[in-house]
Symmetry: D2
Subunit: 76 residues, 4 copies
Amino acid sequence: MWEQKNNTLYRKFEFSNFSEAFAFMTRVAIEAEKMNHHPLWTNVWNRVEIWLSTHDAGDVVTDKDRKLAEKIDALL
Amino acid sequence: MWEQKNNTLYRKFEFSNFSEAFAFMTRVAIEAEKMNHHPLWTNVWNRVEIWLSTHDAGDVVTDKDRKLAEKIDALL
Amino acid sequence: MWEQKNNTLYRKFEFSNFSEAFAFMTRVAIEAEKMNHHPLWTNVWNRVEIWLSTHDAGDVVTDKDRKLAEKIDALL
Amino acid sequence: MWEQKNNTLYRKFEFSNFSEAFAFMTRVAIEAEKMNHHPLWTNVWNRVEIWLSTHDAGDVVTDKDRKLAEKIDALL
């Protein structure tokens, strides 16, 4: 469900409401900090969009991104 | 599952891990602020305990507490 | 510091690190839910960008947006 | 400001309101997960109380607790 898109891993998530979406974001925030690898993400109401890429590698997709994507999927 | 206990509504929650417990707490925090009615609560690892009572009514259980309890249950 | 931009109120925020940025986002989330008025927002690392507009009014800036902007500013 | 109390490190924090207290809790949650060392903590309205001890060491205060206490203090 993650797509390669302009040198990022991209996925869109949809929840029942804002509260559920933000609880998910809180869990993603914790995973991101644990890996010291932070997403670019956007939220409006029940939708969250995430783009993962590795700045230090020249803004391309690396194993760090694939690992964070897996950890995010495990939250669902 | 909420019990009357020393003039509070009390319930204990158990989750798979800390991240899941804290995401739940974030949603409870939002509900509490929306009602401007805040719980006494305790967390350690995957467990959350909540005690609800109404300070302005003399620290007893009121409809405000029953309503917040319902909103919390709806998050599960 | 909020700018009118394509029929939105827009402001960019910068913090010391991700943890500080996300704590700010948690407080904005609470205010948004209290008003039942939710931002479009983006975060990456220590930066948060917020766009406010009112969907029900045809995606233009209304008093609801100006009020939420004030509440967000009060968090700083 | 942390006190030794019944084989824990204990500190009480007071904020302006619930939103500020919960934003602090979000940052402590992130630090706790990063260390995989979780507090016992209680919140009501603007007050947060934290007790740190190390379960695996027999519920006494260890360097892990002193390190988490430092990290929490750095958030203030």
